[in-house]
């Protein structure tokens, strides 16, 4: 990587360049600001939700270079040079849903839906790496995301529905 040394005193900003949902973005941010806050407040992508802001609930999960991470447990300055996918980046340009979105829609995996963006991003990575997971594997992979409404049953069913949709597409 061999980045140059960087320093910012309290109140100073650092220039951060990332690719978010395919578009290159540059932000001047204070190091204290989380990646989640910058995604929401600077990029205006408010689909990434903040529940606990200390890494417990998983609502803020985004893909960083393809891998799920908690965007509240990252400083935006740590994301310099990375590629980020948020919930807004899932649907196709024509508005048709990603299979995981369609699966969760069909299975009514939502009640208040606050947690849904995090579940969806975790599930995207799961199905990419394991296109045919068992129910236990789904539960285990989604164990880092909390939902206070559904009891999880419908969320697991949503992922299983997505597996069928993706299977039928092939």
């Amino acid at each position: 990587m061999n980045l140059p040394s960087i320093r910012a005193a309290i109140g100073e900003t650092i220039s951060v360049t990332t690719t978010i949902n395919g578009a290159s973005r540059r932000f001047d941010v204070e190091p204290r600001r989380s990646l989640a806050d910058v995604i929401r407040d600077e990029a205006g992508l408010t689909g990434t939700h903040l529940g606990c802001e200390h890494g417990v609930c998983g609502a803020c999960t985004v893909l960083l270079d393809g891998e799920p991470v908690r965007s509240c447990l990252m400083l935006a300055v740590q994301a310099d040079g990375t590629e980020i996918t948020t919930i807004e980046g899932l649907a196709n340009a024509d508005g048709s849903l990603h299979p995981i979105q369609q699966g969760m829609y069909d299975a009514m995996s939502f009640q208040c839906a606050f947690c849904s963006p995090g579940f969806l991003m975790s599930a995207v990575a799961l199905l990419r790496d394991n296109p045919n997971p068992s129910t236990n594997e789904i539960r285990e992979e989604l164990s880092g995301n909390l939902c206070r409404c559904t009891g999880y049953q419908s969320i697991v069913e949503g992922v299983e529905t997505a597996v069928r949709i993706m299977g039928a597409q092939q």
Partner: protein
Amino acid sequence: MKNPPFNYHRPATLTEALDLLAAHGDDAKVLAGGQSLLPVMALRLGRPDHVVDIAAIDELKHIATASGALSLGAMVRHAQAETSPMVAEHAPVVAAALPHVGHRAIRNRGTVVGSIAHADAAAEMPAVCLTLGATLHLASATGTREIAAADFFLGFFTTAALPEELVTSVTFPPWSATSGGAVVEISRRHGDYAMCGLACAIDVADGVIESAALSFFGVASTPIRVAEAEAIVVGQRPSPALFAQAAEVVADVLSPDSDIHATANHRRQIAAVLTRRGLAQSADQIGIPV
């Protein structure tokens, strides 16, 4: 909560990082993966004036072996170690522990050495270090030193590392074909901190256990070995009766606290179950079904 303000440093070299730690000492905290430090800051349990981000330092990113010993640099993330064939081959107990560490999103960012340096008594990696006899490599602006895992963990979130020191890597000693090991734990939800866990390893020669290490986590202010139970199994042939005897000793010796997750008594019972389970898995690994 939002992070409190801090002075941010991202040094490009180890020398620069060590100079920063020398200059700021206790007022500085090292940021590796951030999966422990950032929650600590968000909850205002810690409020460092200076954060030293070591992510740009290339010499901290190695997964390497020398004479059979596995070395992991301070910037090796859990997910990298989890998928490394070298870790699976040379430190199977480390590989066995990794799926238990947090959730996938946490493992994608958090580092193995960071977890060790954070020294949460309920975490897997410190106990694994204790069981395997790992060595921590520390550096400061004035020199380097090595500390055995047995001397590293001093108390809750407290280690022998000085404020101006950086843990640059951890080394696990060579793993032998006559060794078997396991990491077993019981938690309320997969990926959460365990109510109690065990990292264990045994060495067997001619069907007899030559050495044993049983390190429990989540039951004291540091990971702890139970020498009394290790002594029971050494010199004996693996058997369910022997492991049950060791389990009884473990339950007698440990004196965990009660908290919202489990009572002390419950933890002792879990520790006994894990002793039988972990030792049986260890024996099974070297072809001795118990």
